[in-house]
Subunit: 177 residues, 2 copies
C-alpha cells in the first residue's frame, strides 16, 4: 500500500517534487512511521521502483577515495554490478520500461540527476562537471546495451578483468581530464 | 517487391548468409539487374532497412587517415550524423525496433559486425581490435541514448564543439591505447 502510493506520487510529481508527507497521507500511514521504515526519499524510491543499487552509497564509496584512480573504481563497480544476474535483470527491466514510457524516463532521469549526477559533480574539480558525469553515464549505459542487450561478440564474453582497465581509462578521462 | 523480398531473406537467413541471388529469385527479377541497381549486398540491405549511413564509406573516410587523430574524426562523424534530424529519427527507429525484437537485433548485429567492426578491426594495430571497436560502438550507442532518448541535461544541449573533443579522446584511447 505504501509502495503503491509512492509509485503514484513519484509518477505524478517526479522525484524532486514528490513528498514523503504526501505519500504517507495517500497510504493512510503516519509520516513519522514512513521515515522510520524508509529513512529517506531515495530509499523509498528504490523500494517502490525496485531500483537495484543505492546511488548515495556509491557516491560515497566510489568517489570518496583517491581522485587519481576514480575511473578504475567506477569501472570495477559498474562491471561488478551488471555481472550479478539478478541486478542485471532488474536494470534491464528499468531500461526497457524507461525506453517505452516518456513518464518513467523522466522519473528515472530526475532520480539519477538528483542522487547521482549532482552529488558526483559536486566532488569534481573540472569544468562542466555535470556534463562529465553524464558522459560517464552514457558510456555505462552503452556498454550495458552492447554487452548484455545487443550481446555483440567479443564484447559480450570479455572477462571483467579485460574490460575494467579499458573502461576505467575512459571514465578517468571524462572525470579528470 | 525487391525490397520486400530482401527484408524477408535478410530476416530469415541473417546478413552474412543472405544471398542476392535468392532475393532476385524471390522477387522474380534477374540477378544481374539486382546487382546493377544495388551494386552490393550492403547497399541492398541499407535500402531494405532504410539504414541511414554507409558503413563501408565511413570506414574508408574516417579510418583511412592519420591514426593519431582517428578518435577525433570518429567523434566528429558520429555527432554530425546524429545532429541531422532525419538521420537521428531513422537511427532511433532502428534502435527501438532492435530493442523490441531479438530477430531484428541479430540481423543488425550481423550487418554491423560484417560491414563495420571487422573492417575497422582489420585496420587497427592493437591487441583485441574487435573488442576495441565494439567499445567505441558502445560509447556511441550510449551517447545517443543519453543525449537524444533520455535527454539528460546538460548533455542533451551540449554543442557539438564541446562534445567532439571529449568523445574523440575516448575513441582514440580505445582504438590506439
Amino acid at each position: 500500500m505504501v509502495l503503491v502510493a509512492a509509485r503514484a506520487e513519484f509518477a505524478a510529481r517526479g522525484y524532486q517534487k514528490a513528498s514523503m508527507r504526501a505519500i504517507a497521507r495517500a497510504a493512510g500511514v503516519d509520516a513519522a512511521l514512513l521515515h522510520h521504515y524508509f529513512g529517506s526519499k531515495d530509499r523509498l524510491f528504490m523500494a517502490a521502483l525496485e531500483f537495484p543499487f543505492e546511488p548515495r552509497a556509491v557516491v560515497e564509496d566510489v568517489f570518496g577515495g583517491d581522485p587519481a584512480t576514480v575511473g578504475e573504481r567506477v569501472a570495477a563497480f559498474v562491471v561488478g554490478l551488471w555481472e550479478q544476474p539478478a541486478v542485471r535483470e532488474r536494470l534491464l527491466a528499468l531500461v526497457r520500461t524507461a525506453a517505452a514510457s516518456e513518464e518513467v524516463a523522466a522519473l528515472m532521469r530526475s532520480f539519477m540527476v538528483t542522487e547521482l549526477v549532482d552529488r558526483v559533480a559536486a566532488r569534481l574539480d573540472v569544468e562542466q562537471p555535470e556534463l562529465r558525469v553524464e558522459l560517464v553515464m552514457s558510456q555505462v549505459v552503452g556498454l550495458a546495451m552492447a554487452r548484455y542487450v545487443i550481446a555483440v561478440e567479443p564484447l559480450a564474453s570479455a572477462p571483467p578483468e579485460v574490460l575494467v582497465p579499458l573502461l576505467g581509462r575512459t571514465v578517468q578521462g571524462y572525470l579528470a581530464g
